[in-house]
Amino acid sequence: MAARAPAATGRLLQGFRKWYYNACGFNKIGLMRDDTIHEDDDVKEALRRLPENVYNDRMFRIKRALDLSMKQAVLPKDHWTKYEEDNHYLEPYLKEVIRERKEREEWSKK
């Protein structure tokens, strides 16, 4: 059904995604999607591999969000993270960590 999606339903899907992103609300306190990811072992290893500047930016955003959450406030509307600007910085590292773990598991099964 989704496989033969023509251009019209593609735009519909994007619209829905944008609405859902804004409804989640974390962009109102200045966070990106990958800042909110639950930290299990794979994510911890992927975070260890982040380049220093990316990691520092993440830490800044999390600190600012914690501060806002304590004050029960949100950022001004022009500072909210936009859907188009949301950068999935952790995704490649996380994918690699999961791939390596699966490789190890495959190997130990043999």
Binding site: R48, R49, P51, E100, E103, R104, W107
Partner: protein
């Protein structure tokens, strides 16, 4: 019954044929030999590809094969900005490459019972794999991956820092290593003064970009040699043509080594003083190089009989007249592609270091003034020949010998040719080599309790 008798007849017939002058390493006369066996057996074959890569192989019919990639990328090619990068490269042989992850390389090599290792010297880096003949394809794939397509992921490189520290701590346990590194730092102004180990100020600071840059500029086809023991030459040639052509060109040209003749003293608490006094020697492959090697054995290059009194070593005899305490002295000879070092290495009690060094140098001077008999020279030649031939007995030694010759000169000299060259060294050549040492500007490195150790201008 008849068939059985027939078989025993056959074995007698072949025995009779062999009993004559038939060599066991050549095909029996009258037997049709397959086309691949048209070259003579047990010979080293050397081919130079148009890209500059040299391929050398020896089919020795052993059940285990060994393949090495030798690259002119030793510590002399480090620049002042990227000191320590060769140490990191030496530890990075098993890191993730474009074709295989670090885990896969380790487990894959282990699964076939092979081994993958790196050795590096001031001139060359040698990546070698060995395993059983049948599994050679698997490990060769990993070897090619490691030498041509490493990724040097930043977190894997920074995880190597504890291993760098461990290497340095282990090296610090042996005083001799420290003295030799200090000697090179004192003797040369540039490339050859770089240490094999990462300097202290660079531990933890060598980055993945520096390693990539070093590999890009130094691991080029024209500076590589692919050597195999127990592999077919045509297969090795195919591998060389297809896979080792990634980077062409000469890479960064190394600069000429500049000898300066300095001194480094490392004051310590050890009661034994290790000291090395050297002067510029012969370059590898030159006419003088063998004369210096023979001189090294005339003077004494390590004990040949365990727990013996080392009577054949002139240096030991000379120094034993100067002191009754335990000591050790030997001649040191190093040949690099554009320079060399020759001299004496002494280990003595701290209080007598001066006497020991002066006695050793006095003995070399005596040789320079002609104090060497024909018997000494022939003994030294035999010892040198024996040492060289015995080093070819192990597969590591043989790979290194074939590889360094293929990389340095593009050909391989058979052991017979080398023995003849050694025999051709005359007594005059040896005396001239000693004269060159006595006249040359000295470099010195010493470590231990140095109160009684003379400075280089006092010896």
């Amino acid at each position: 019954m008849k068939g059985l008798r027939g078989i025993s007849h056959l074995s007698r017939r072949f025995y009779a044929a062999r009993g004559g002058k038939q060599s066991l390493s050549e095909p029996l006369a009258g037997i049709k030999v397959s086309p691949r066996a048209s070259h003579s057996f047990q010979d080293v074959h050397v081919t130079k590809l148009p890209s500059g890569l040299v391929i050398a192989s020896l089919e020795n019919y052993s059940p285990a094969s060994k393949i090495g990639v030798l690259i002119k990328a030793g510590s002399r090619y480090e620049t002042p900005d990227n000191l320590g990068v060769t140490h990191l490269l030496r530890l990075s042989a098993n890191l993730t490459t474009k074709g295989a992850s670090a885990f896969r390389i380790t487990r894959g090599v282990e699964a076939v019972g092979g081994s993958l290792g790196v050795t590096s010297s001031r001139e060359n880096m040698i990546y070698s794999v060995d395993c059983l003949r049948d599994h050679m394809d698997t490990v060769m794939e990993y070897l090619i991956n490691v030498t041509t397509a490493p990724e040097f992921r930043p977190w894997e490189v920074s995880d190597l820092t504890p291993r760098v520290k461990l290497d340095k701590a282990l090296a610090a346990q042996t005083q001799q290593i420290g003295v030799i590194e200090a000697l090179h730092a004192a003797a040369y102004k540039n490339n050859l003064s770089n240490s094999l180990y990462c300097p202290d100020h660079r531990v933890g600071k060598v980055t993945s970009e520096e390693m990539h840059a070093f590999v890009e500029s130094n691991f080029t086809s024209a500076r590589m040699a692919l050597v195999g023991l127990g592999v077919d030459h045509t297969i090795l040639k195919q591998v060389g043509e297809q896979f080792l052509n990634i980077r062409s060109g000469m890479g960064t040209a190394g600069s000429k080594a500049q000898y300066r003749g300095g001194e480094m003293r490392h004051q310590g608490t050890s009661s034994l003083v290790h000291a090395a006094v050297m002067s510029e020697g012969a370059t590898a492959g030159s006419a003088e190089a063998l004369a210096f090697s023979v001189l090294q054995h005339v003077l004494g290059a390590g004990p040949h009989v365990k727990r013996g009194s080392n009577t054949s070593s002139k240096l030991t005899q000379a120094v034993s007249k100067a002191t009754a305490s335990p000591f050790d002295v030997s001649a040191f000879n190093a040949n690099y592609s554009d320079s060399g070092l020759f001299g004496v290495f002494t280990i003595s009690q701290a209080a007598e270091a001066g006497d020991v060094i002066k006695a050793a140098l006095g003995q070399v001077k005596a040789v320079a003034e002609g104090g060497v008999t024909a018997e000494d020279i022939s003994r030294a030649k035999n010892q040198l020949k024996a040492q060289y031939l015995m080093s070819l007995e192990t597969s590591e030694g043989l790979l290194e010998a074939i590889g360094t010759q293929a990389l340095g000169e593009g050909t391989y000299h058979t052991p017979e040719a080398m023995s003849q060259k050694i025999d051709a060294v005359s007594s005059n050549d040896v005396v001239n080599a000693a004269k060159k040492f006595v006249a040359g500007k000295k470099s010195m490195a010493s470590s231990g309790h140095l109160a009684n150790t003379p400075f280089v201008d006092e010896i």
